[in-house]
């Protein structure tokens, strides 16, 4: 005789798990601590050494799932944490076998920052299927066709697919709209039998009343739907909103350990649990283990103080500017590094207008487009005319909105400001306006936006380039074998399938990561303080296990810097070793100091923004000094805040100098490349007259 399973479990099929959730009266929780909370309040810096201590405790706490994977942590792991996303996922699976692991996927962008064709999606999803049980998938345009490739791979792979509707609060985001999106989703997933629907409130803006209404509307229409409410805490109303959602019928709520809670992440599990119980709802938690996990978090959370946001505190204003929790601290960090922290209130104010001009959801990559666009607009105007000009700009936007967005109702000066608003639009914003991510959820923006972004020729551009159908249909298969060879060339060894998947998401970061691993091995077994700061003082000792064997490093002495080298003497398992360390010398520091492009010098190409050089050349060809480039050819690509920006050659020419290196951080106006006249263009009489000034 077989009995029906009564508890959700990773080994059950999606259908079985969904059936259990339907029968069960209890409210379930997803702990987002290791991923989303870590991203929103601690810039994704949590070490695996600390996080993995929680796995055995979460395993016994009664959670529905633990979000330990995906989102920006994926990139951050390669970039700065030096954690292999595969190893991290495998370790969680191994130490938390009874609770589902969860990832966050940006529809066809997966864990990267561009749209992938189907063959890349299939390869990448398949590679992670063994480690990830719940696949939450959102699209910043709520464009369901973009979710289809993921849905197919995950459902075919026997894992639980959790499509998310990007939630916001505006006059357009009505129940009717979300019912329409849900209908489209269920058409793709073949109903609600083996999926869970997520309401993704990434900014934390849904009031208890609003969320009650939405959950209720969805369940009226689809009574058997399992609803998972994902909500950030930014507006300060998370706890009552979560409880309201549960009361309205949501089955699963996103929370985190109490000591993980700050301002932009997730609500404290104990508080939500207490309020639910007070209101007569049952929950599925074993508090002994929840409290034990909280104790561990308390123990290590101090390690990350320096990575908490520059600005701390709830911000109900989020309901206007809608910056998502996951982008909060990194935006402030950018602002601090770029020395424009003082402009943040203006940028946020600008965002609250911008989202009424071009309508999409502020979540990756939309949130980055919004951020880079408005950070650039406000900085530009500040540099030109200080706070006065910034205020003029923002006031013009405000009055324009008050006028019902009619250009003929504002002054000619304000009209000019608006028509210049997007004149320095990034490639990504232009792509968005041309439908390359998919159709916008509430229709294309007004003509003046196109005029502002594309100039006088905007009509032709829209006619010629705007994609009205699904951009996925235009995505060609990528030559994976060729990409594999490219990576093999770069790392000089045979490529493992996992390496390739990482490389497809983040090429530059993966190459750097693999080189780091080759040099130092798996640093995630080092205690966090040592990972961040080393041994600090003579006599300090660190203990850690490696393959079950205890190890100890003790700092014996540290020399002064001589000829750029410091000698560090450590006892490694009681044996003295001398380690010469090449110091980042003063000379190197000077070298990396930015040389700015001189706009008066023809051929000097400056960086349009702060960012990272991740490619020199285009997708197909890397460039070096001596190469000849055509006008309009992509000669470099910068990455900032998850957005890639192509640098196009302003002229025909030959590369004279490339003063930047791959992976180098550059500042705005920094000299990227020097071009000289190419012999053949001079012969044909094309030359200075056709050269456009670099922007």
């Amino acid at each position: 005789m077989t009995t029906k399973p009564t508890n959700v479990h990773p080994t059950l099929s999606p259908k079985e798990n969904v059936a259990i959730l339907r029968r069960d009266k209890k409210i379930y929780f997803t702990n987002t601590g290791p991923r989303d909370t870590g991203q929103s309040d601690f810039k994704n810096r949590h070490t695996l050494y600390d996080l993995i201590r929680l796995a055995p405790l979460y395993n016994r706490s009664g959670y529905f799932s633990v979000e330990n994977h995906g989102g920006a942590r994926f990139h951050q792991n390669l970039l700065q944490n030096k954690i292999d996303p595969f190893e991290e996922a495998a370790r969680w699976k191994e130490r938390m076998p009874d609770v589902m692991t969860q990832t966050l996927v940006r529809s066809t962008n997966l864990w990267g920052y561009r749209m992938y064709p189907r063959n890349v999606v299939a390869l990448s999803v398949k590679a992670f299927l063994p480690y990830v049980d719940v696949w939450r998938c959102f699209d910043f345009l709520n464009y369901v066709p973009n979710m289809v490739p993921i849905a197919e791979e995950v459902m075919k792979g026997g894992k639980l697919f959790e499509p998310a509707i990007s939630f916001s609060v505006s006059e357009d985001c009505t129940n009717a709209y979300y019912l329409k999106v849900t209908r489209e989703i269920l058409a793709v997933t073949g109903g609600a039998k083996e999926i869970i629907l997520c309401i993704k409130d990434m900014a934390g803006v849904g009031s208890p009343k609003r969320i009650t209404s939405l959950v209720d509307a969805l369940l009226q229409k689809y009574p058997s739907l399992i609803i998972h409410y994902h909500r950030h805490t930014t507006d300060g109303l998370a706890v009552p909103a979560l409880v309201a959602a549960a009361k309205a019928g949501a089955k699963i709520l996103d929370v985190t350990d109490d000591p993980f809670t700050r301002y932009y992440g997730h609500a404290p599990v104990r508080s939500v649990n207490a309020l639910l119980q007070e209101q007569g709802m049952e929950t599925n938690l074993d508090l002994t283990w929840v409290d034990e996990a909280a104790r561990i978090v308390t123990d290590f959370i101090g390690n990350y103080q320096e990575f908490e946001s520059q600005f701390r505190g709830f911000s109900h204003k989020v309901t206007e500017h809608r910056m998502p929790g996951g982008a909060f601290p990194s935006s402030f960090e950018q602002a601090e590094k770029g020395d424009f922290l003082h402009l943040m209130p203006h940028i946020l104010r600008g965002m609250s207008y911008g989202n009424r001009f071009i309508k999409y959801f502020d979540v990756t990559p939309g949130s980055q487009i919004t951020w880079t666009t408005w950070a650039a607009i406000v900085q530009f105007h500040f540099k030109e005319g200080g706070y006065r000009q910034v205020d003029q700009l923002l006031d013009a936007c405000e009055r324009f909105i008050a006028s019902g967005q009619r250009l003929n109702k504002v002054t000619p000066a304000e009209r000019d400001i608006l028509l210049g608003l997007y004149s320095r639009a990034t490639d990504d914003l232009k792509s968005l306006l041309l439908g390359r991510y998919g159709p916008l959820p509430f229709g294309w923006p007004a003509d003046w936006v196109y005029q502002s972004a594309f100039g006088d020729a905007w009509r032709e551009r829209v006619k010629k380039d705007r994609i009205e159908a699904s951009p996925l249909d235009q995505k060609k298969k990528e030559n994976i074998a060729a990409i594999q060879r490219e990576l093999e060339d770069k790392i000089g060894r045979r490529v493992m399938p996992e390496d390739l998947v990482l490389y497809l998401q983040h090429p530059g970061a993966t190459v750097d990561f693999l080189a780091f691993r080759r040099k130092f091995g798996d640093t995630t077994i080092l205690p966090t303080r040592v990972w961040f700061d080393g041994l600090q003082a003579v006599g300090r000792e660190v203990y850690f296990d490696h393959q079950g064997k205890p190890n100890t490093f003790k700092l014996l002495s540290i020399g002064t810097e001589v000829a750029g080298v410091r000698h560090v003497v450590m006892a490694v398992n009681n044996t003295m070793h001398v380690f010469p360390v090449d110091m980042p010398s003063a000379k190197d520091r000077l070298k990396t100091e930015a040389r700015l492009a001189d706009p008066a010098v023809k051929g000097e190409i400056g960086s349009p923004m702060m960012g990272n050089v991740w490619r020199i050349g285009d997708k197909d060809r890397s460039l070096k000094v001596g190469d000849i480039v055509r006008e309009g050819q992509e000669i470099m690509n910068l990455e900032a805040m998850k957005i890639e920006t192509a640098i196009l050659s302003p002229m025909h020419g030959v590369i004279k100098d490339i003063p930047v290196k791959l992976s180098q951080a550059v500042v705005e106006k920094q000299l990227l490349l020097v071009l000289g006249a190419a012999p053949w263009s001079e012969r044909k009489g094309k030359g200075a007259s056709k050269v456009k000034k670099p922007e």
Binding site: R45, Q80, N81, K82, F516, R518, K519, F520, G521, D522, T523, I525, L526, V530, W531, F532, D533, G534, L535, Q536, V542, H546, N551, F553, L555, I558, R566, V568, M570, V572, N573, T575, M576, H577, V578, F579, V581, M583, P584
Partner: protein, 484 residues
């Protein structure tokens, strides 16, 4: 037959340094002989000085002013009341004047007589002596006076031709000529090298034996006319005539050929009147024809593999022979069993054209374990001086069969760890894993032929030490630059 008196050796002056001095001191300890070594300025804290019972400062670091200074060495041996002098290999070991000076100073020279050394140092004389004992030798041109002469000789015996320094040895001072038109230039070059390296620029010419294996026979002779051989050593794994890997027995010889060549060796040495340990080197071509090339009248670097398979301490035998004792082992007592391989660990960077790598040994883990022998002259904290040769350790493995000996050597090479200098260990590991080497199919061109492949290695560091390097870097910088 020269008759000598028995004279006990109670105190031995070891006129050498490095691993061979240390290895000799060990035998002295076993035999109850007091050991004395000389040292140069830079060797004051070297291992052989630490190990010996007594030490004498010889002079400044350059070998010419210390280890090669005959008068200083003789004075040191006499001043310390030594009965005998052991020269090892290199330095003064093949200098007949040194052997004569020892004799004149009343010191027993642990090696052949000055006369034998002198004649073995003259390649032409050696070849004549070998030919007289009916040992096959390479067709050669003894007195080279002109390039034209070499061209005629080459046309007669076939190209290529090797031009060698008469006073040369140890693979140095050789130039290969592939075709007649290059002869003049090659001869100039050979004369010039010989003039720089040796006492005379005189050269001779020989047919170059293609696809040859370098196989040498170890022999041992006492003052009473007894000569035995201890089998062969395979030394084909060489780079620019410098041996890297040696083994015994050779995969090439069968028992019949071994016996035949051994008999040739014994006959020749009897004929020459050789006393003490020595080596007769052969080239064996692909048709199994063998040609004697030279006699090394001294202990050799690779004597260890013979010791391992024969179960004899060659240096002990040399000391006993020098003291006038008769050999007690007869040829029929010599049973060569098992297989031994030796790898030379040099402080060189194979990837940087084998440039010497000198400096402080900041960490050293020597090898040990079953059937592995390490002869070394270094220790942790010691600075490898730039004045002498780059050999720092010889690792020898012994096993029932060649395959196991290779596996054992691989293990030992993996275990050996040295910091502060680059070594040939990664290259040696590559050789141990090379299919042609494992199959026993190679000749003296093996390294040249496969060099690119053999150098295609990544130096893998122990995982914990890699982490330690990381922690050291973070500690030196004060914060983790990778995550900030």
């Amino acid at each position: 037959m020269p008759s000598r008196h028995k004279r006990p050796i109670n105190k031995l002056f070891i006129a050498n340094r490095g691993e061979i001095a240390c290895r000799t001191i060990r035998t002295c300890m076993e035999m109850g002989i007091t050991s004395v070594v000389g040292y140069s300025d830079c060797d004051a804290l070297s291992y052989h000085v630490r190990m010996a019972d007594q030490a004498v400062h010889l002079g400044p670091s350059p070998a010419k002013l210390s280890y090669l200074d005959v008068a200083k060495v003789i004075d040191a041996a006499r001043a310390t009341g030594c009965d005998a002098v052991f020269p090892g290999y290199g330095f003064l070991s093949e200098d007949p004047e040194f052997a004569a000076a020892c004799r004149d100073a009343g010191l027993i020279f642990v090696g052949p007589s000055a006369e034998v050394i002198a004649s073995m140092g003259d390649k032409i004389a050696t070849k004549d002596a070998l030919a007289a004992a009916r040992v096959p030798i390479i067709p050669g041109l003894n007195k080279v006076t002109s390039a034209q002469q070499i061209v005629e000789f080459g046309n007669k015996v076939g190209w290529p031709i090797m031009i060698k320094a008469i006073a040369g040895g140890g693979g140095r001072g050789m130039v290969r000529v592939d075709a007649p038109q290059h002869t003049a230039k090659a001869l100039d070059q050979a004369n010039s090298i010989a003039g720089k390296l040796f006492t005379t620029d005189a050269v001779y010419a020989e047919k170059y034996i293609k696809g040859a294996r370098h196989i040498e026979f170890q022999f041992m002779a006492d003052q009473y006319g007894t000569v035995i051989h201890l089998g062969e050593r395979e030394c084909s794994i060489q780079r620019r005539h410098q041996k890297l890997v040696e083994e015994a027995p050779s995969t090439l010889l069968n028992e019949e050929l071994r016996k035949e060549m051994g008999a040739v060796v014994v006959r020749a040495m009897k004929n020459i009147g050789y006393v003490t340990a020595g080596t007769l080197e052969f080239l064996v071509d692909s048709d199994m024809k063998y040609y004697a090339i030279e006699v090394n009248p001294r202990i050799q670097v690779e004597h260890t593999v013979t010791e391992m398979v024969a179960g004899l301490d060659l240096i002990r035998l040399m000391i006993r022979t020098a003291a006038g004792q008769a050999l007690t082992v007869r040829q029929e007592d010599i049973v060569l069993r098992s297989h031994a391989i030796q790898c030379r660990v040099n402080a060189e960077d194979p990837k940087n054209n084998f440039a010497p790598s000198f400096g402080k040994v900041t960490y050293l883990r020597q090898v040990s374990g079953p059937f592995v022998r390490a002869d070394t002259g270094i220790y942790q904290g010691w600075e490898i001086p730039p004045f002498y040769d780059s050999l720092i350790t010889k690792i020898c493995s012994l096993a029932k069969d060649r395959t196991t000996a290779i596996e054992r050597m691989w293990r030992a090479l993996c275990e050996y760890e040295i910091w502060g200098v680059k070594t040939t260990i990664p290259l040696l590991k590559q050789i141990m894993r090379h299919p042609d080497f494992v199959a026993g199919q190679f000749d003296t061109d093996f390294i040249d032929k496969h060099l690119d492949e053999l150098l295609n290695y990544v130096e893998e560091e122990d995982e914990v030490l890699r982490l330690a390097r990381f922690v050291a870097e973070i500690t030196a910088i004060g914060k983790n630059p990778y995550c900030r």
